[in-house]
Amino acid sequence: MNEAKRTKTISQTEEVWRRLKRNRTAIIGGMIVFLFVFVAILAPWISPYPPNEGDLAKRLKPPSKEHLLGTDALGRDQLSRIIFGARISLQIQVVAVFIALIIGTFLGMVGGYYGGTLDNLIMRLMDILLAFPGIFLAISIIAVLGPGLTNLMLAAGIYSIPQFARIARGSVLSLKEKEFIEAARAVGENDLNILFRYLLPNSMAPLIIQTTLRMATVLLTASGLSFLGLGVQPPTPEWGAMLSTARAYMITAPHVATVPGLAIMLVVMGFNLFGDGLRDSLDPRLRD
């Protein structure tokens, strides 16, 4: 309580921001994420060449002054393809995580709030989804929907629903017996208001953390599916699909297979670091 009194003059957002700024890993992660988003948005303006036009005379060239990351098997500029790949990755991540965040949070909150049969039904449904381990669930969804960019986003989204549902439910369960909810009920607020104006804002911290960390998982999963040929199809410059094509030239031109993988790893690392940093700042109790 003393702590609260002393920091009364700063808002919670300011406090989180202050802690975040002092967190070295969060800063590094945040910078990587910022760079990634920046590159993704500005892709058409900053890429030196068009991503899908190549010069067959210059195929599989190692990095040089004209082509900083070399060229691929069709003589296309690797750097330009990586830059445009950022765009596709970001699009997949945002759409998939958004689907999961909305549906998962809604299901979890409703289940946690009403309890009983509804809760049981929702959570068993989540258990069934979780019975398909890891990327296997996404593959199973693709088996039904078929390959392609839109279906990939859907599959990666559905695949992430249970995580959000569980977190939202847990949060609602711990909050719904608190006095402020009781007070809201006493003044006659309806369920919808209690759920979305009282419980949701107070469940934001774990959901924001999960959103950040899930961006990393979704990128790994989506690029994995594209690598298998089940996601984005060539010639679209998606990093996983690029790696898949580059496998054939791994011995003669190792840079073609190395670079897309590095890009995936860097971005995943950025989201992981930023997510961990956010967790430390939003919820200092979890720090060891």
Binding site: A131, S140, A143, G224, L228, L230, M250, M265, N272
Partner: protein, 296 residues
Amino acid sequence: MLLPVLLGVSLVSFSLLHMVPGDPAELLAGEEANPEFIQALRKEYGLDQPLYIQYFHFISHVVRGDFGISIRNREPVIKLLKERFLFTLQLSFLSILIACFIGLIAGVISSTKQYSLFDNMSMVGALFGISMPIFWFGLLLMLVFSVHLRWFPAGGKGTILHLILPAIALGAASSAVIARMTRASMLEVVRQDYIRTARANGLREFIVIYKHALKNAMIPVITVFGLEFGYMLGGAVLTETVFSLPGVGRLMVEGIFQRDYPVVQGSMLLVATTFVGVNLLTDIAYAFFDPKIRYE
């Protein structure tokens, strides 16, 4: 708990054939089938019956180990699954062994030397472990150890040597998760009073850490094993593709490409059921390590 999930899993696999656009009998018959054959299949699989009867039919076959006939090579799916699945199990098992070995050792040493060079290095290593795409790491391992150093074969199956690189690629992320978990759990346990008592009683540090602390620190770590094993069953799809290994993951992906639905259904059912079984075992192990937890 277990039964509704298994029932749901079977329902999902069953629905596959009906959710894919197109007539199930035509899908099962393959692309160049004549109408008589399609009609015969429709009768044989009872596809002209109501859905709930079809589902019952499906389940009663599945429990007898009959997953239908592969559309591509007209072999019983169970036969294909058996070989492929044993292989994936072997691979996953080796990977989890590697992951536990690396993860536990790195985690324990990191926790005893918090903020030391080793601790920092292994936590940076863990960050790489969870951020690297399996398929890329696999390719790099192959490039370095098979192509350049020629220590291991570059793909295919046969000896244990064929499995080492795929198992390392598959186990990297889990090593990282287990290392982080072990470290965090150990750091919490060594602050407990009974550890201080053990030290005050003059026990050797080695005994304190490995006998008293580790045993209790393992409890939260055990829960990750089940999850990680499942992650491996899934991730095996990628490893098997990179190293051209004949596992169930690749069988399923090939099945999707070839529209071989019985194979896809069988793989889905088998992998999910195994994972549910592994989770049950984890729960039992959990109760065994932590006597405070008792399942009715």
